[in-house]
Structure formats: C-alpha cells, structure tokens
C-alpha cells in the first residue's frame, strides 16, 4: 500500500510530533484514528473533523494511496 500524508492543525498539531506525518498501511479513516489514538493517546481528549483530499468526510471513509488527510479542530478565540 502507498503512503498517505496527514496534516494537523491547532491543538491537534500540538499533540503530534509534527504538523505533518507520513503514514503507511492506512486504508480508511477508522484505521487512521485507531493508529493515531494508540500512538498519541492525548488526541482522544480533543474533538476534530477530518478532510480527505480537501473534502470533509464523516463516518468511515476510504483513503486511497497518496491521499492527503487533514485533522481539523475547532477554534473558539476571537
């Protein structure tokens, strides 16, 4: 399976080693979340939305090789 790129924003990026990760063997968003929660348990406490190739998705969504996935938390400041 090919690689995917994961981009993180805001407080999600703070809980990852970098705001961009490259991952392998990830076929869908459920697998991605399972991997992230296991590797970075702090993520469980922050809600975020997911976009695949710049389209927001919900439910378990297929991730094709070479896709770009974004982890998008809400911001409240103003």
């Amino acid at each position: 399976m090919g690689k995917i790129k994961v981009r993180a924003f805001g407080m999600i990026a703070e809980k990852l080693p970098s705001n961009e990760l490259e991952l392998e063997n990830i076929a869908n968003t459920d697998q991605l979340l399972g991997y992230l929660y296991q590797q970075y348990p702090a993520l469980k406490h922050t809600k975020f939305s997911i976009a695949v190739n710049r389209k927001q998705v919900h439910g378990n969504e297929l991730i094709l090789p070479e896709s770009e996935v974004a982890l998008l938390p809400p911001f409240s400041g103003g």
Binding site: K47, A51, R54, L72, G77
Partner: protein, 362 residues
C-alpha cells in the same frame, strides 16, 4: 469625488458593487480582536448599515489587538466606543449599537434585521448560538476564529440550490470549553485577529457584491508562522444536524451554556493557581444548598445557594472574578448563566465537575 472612488473604479466592483454595499445591513457579533478590524473595513468600504453587538467593556489587556480602543476607553462599552469612533469617521452610514451579549432570547430578533452576520465572538456557546439563529433565519454567516497562531474563515449557511451548510456540519459535536483554550489563556499576537478579522470583512464584501470567489461552504485555515494556508470543502454532516434546532421554538429551548460549556469552564487546579496569584480580587462561590456536604475546608468561599442567588447576587457587586462551584458542575453552570446575564462585565467561571472532582483528585 466620492470616498469610494478607489473601489468604484475597480474593474468588477464598480458603482454596482458600491450600490450593493450601501444597501447592505451587516451585524458584527463581538467587537473584539476579530470584530475591530472587520468593523473598520466594513465601515470604510461603505456598508450602509452596521450593527455592533457586544456586551463587554474595554479592558487593558484588549489593547494589543482590539485596535479601535485606546487607554482612555478602558471600562467603557465596546459597542458604544466602536460606534462612536466609526460615526466620527463617516456620516454616510448607519451604525446600530447593541450593547449586550446575544443569547437565545434576543438573538433571533437582533439578527432578523440584517442581511449578513459576521461572527467575531470568542466562545463556542456563542458560535453555535449564532450559527443556529442564522440557520433558522436563513442568513449567511461569515465565520472566523483563532487559536494561538492559526485562524479559520468561512462563509456558512448560504441559501443556494442545495441544503445550506453550517457550523454544525463542520464541527458536529460542540467541544467543552476546557478542551480548547481561548486567547486569555494561551496568548495571541495582535496581528492574527487583525488578519483573520480583515479576511472576514473581505469575504463579507465579496459575498455582498458578488466579487471574486467567496469562501462559500469552504473553510480557509491560515497559519501566521509560515503564512501557510489550507482550504477544504465542508460536507453535510447528519450527526451535527441531529443537534440543531430547526424552528424558533426549538431554538428557545436550547441550552447553549450546557451544550457547549459556558465558555468559561475552569478546572480546580487552574482556579487554585489563579487564586494564589490574585488573592485580593478572586472569590469562590458555593451555590449548593446549606445542607449539602462536604463543605470546602481549605479555601475561602462565599455560600450562596442557587435558590437564593437572584435575591443575593447584588452582594457580589464589588468582586472582579468569581469561580462558582456546586456538587458536580451542573448547577454552577446554570448559576454562571444567571450571574453573567446580571453582571456581564465580571469574570465569572464555573468549576468543571464541582466539588466531586476536587475530592477525586485529593
């Protein structure tokens, strides 16, 4: 020569764009870090009617980013000062002052008088409230928010052929306030809300005049550190839709403080740190009834049972900062709503999990 000459000669904008702006009514909710630049540019561009809704007063720590205000304005109503400043600049636009916070009782009637709403608020409760009110009233919403060195901008709830997409599609489950800190806790460079608030004004102007490609049902993420951007298309989200009120009567029954956290949720450790640093002007308030145990024993507090809160809250008039607690955090959230409605200028917080969470820690 008109004050709009430099934009009426602009190709694609012209007198037609100016005409549309001068007939537009825009409500800016929150005259803070985002609202100040948005207001200045909307007024300069000639938006015919601008409403300024904010129940807060100017404080010293606002001045690094809320560029309408100066030292002499400290303690004055933000909505009043902002209106005064803009009226002093331009005589050809109408400025409406709404010097109170929007809530589920007043939001629909305030928003109904405008064509477009610009959200410059600073807490999730207000953001979901404005979103839902705009959905019910079918008003486009120019959303903006910041966190540390990043910002988000979007135009939501546009009534085109398809179902309008809302903030609840983008973020279906409202986060608790403690999950996402705000500027007063994490800090912010003043230029960031300057950029994001100006982008919101840009999107409002583009949308109202049909200029360029407005961010309709798209979100732009912006990062101040490297000027990086990321844009995505919002997708309809059934989970978010389940929680959204569809009618005015459903809207009036929502509890935005409990749904989203009151915007001011504190943990015991934060409260203890704050009280140690500001011993003179911060107080704890116990809103449980007299018989409820255990009492708090190692910190000073004021007992004021929820059943007597409305009669006795005037006794709190001299305090700056109040941390409210109860047994588990539910009644204190309700008390904070009542206290904030009566005394909006004070810093009033509910303590997450109440006294139970303190006992679990010790």
């Amino acid at each position: 020569m008109s004050r709009f000459e430099r934009q009426t000669i602009l190709s694609g904008f012209g007198q037609e764009g100016q005409g549309k702006l001068s007939h537009s009514k825009v409500l800016v909710v929150g005259a803070g870090g985002l609202g100040c630049p948005a207001l200045l540019y909307l007024a300069a561009a000639g938006v015919g009617t601008i409403g300024i809704a904010d129940g807060d007063e100017v404080s010293l720590s606002n001045l690094n980013r809320q560029v309408i205000y100066g030292e002499r304005d400290i303690g004055r109503s933000k909505a009043e000062v902002a209106a005064e400043q803009i009226r002093n600049k331009y005589s050809d636009i109408q400025i409406n002052v709404i010097p109170y916070f929007l809530n589920k009782d007043n939001a629909l009637s305030v928003i109904a008088a405008y064509d477009l709403v610009l959200d410059g608020s600073d807490n999730f409760g207000t953001r979901y409230l404005i979103n839902d009110a705009c959905y019910i009233l079918k008003k486009p919403l120019v959303f903006g928010a910041i966190y540390q060195h990043e910002g988000q901008v979007a135009i939501l709830n546009v009534q085109d052929n398809e179902e309008p997409l809302t903030y609840r599609d983008l973020f279906p489950i409202p986060p608790s306030a403690s999950e996402v800190p705000n500027c007063s806790e994490t800090g912010v460079l003043g230029v960031l809300p300057g950029i994001i608030g100006t982008m919101q004004a840009t999107e409002a102007i583009k949308y109202l005049t049909n200029f360029g490609n407005p961010l309709i049902h798209k979100v732009l993420f912006y990062n101040l550190k490297d000027h990086g951007t990321y844009m995505l298309d919002i997708g309809l989200n059934p989970d978010g839709r389940k929680l959204m009120p569809r009618t005015a009567s459903e809207f009036h029954q929502m509890d935005y403080a409990v749904v989203c956290g009151p915007g001011d949720l504190k943990r015991w450790e934060d409260v203890q740190t704050f009280m140690a640093e500001h011993p003179e002007n911060a107080w704890l308030l116990d809103v449980r009834e007299d018989h409820e145990l255990p009492k708090l024993d190692n910190l000073p507090y004021i007992p004021m049972p929820l059943s007597h809160l409305k009669d006795k809250m005037h006794e709190l008039a001299a305090l700056d900062t109040i941390f409210v607690f109860c047994q588990s955090g539910i009644r204190s959230a309700r008390a904070v709503e009542d206290l904030k409605a009566a005394m909006p200028a004070k810093n009033i917080y509910t303590i997450e999990g109440g006294i139970k969470s303190l006992l679990q820690k010790n």
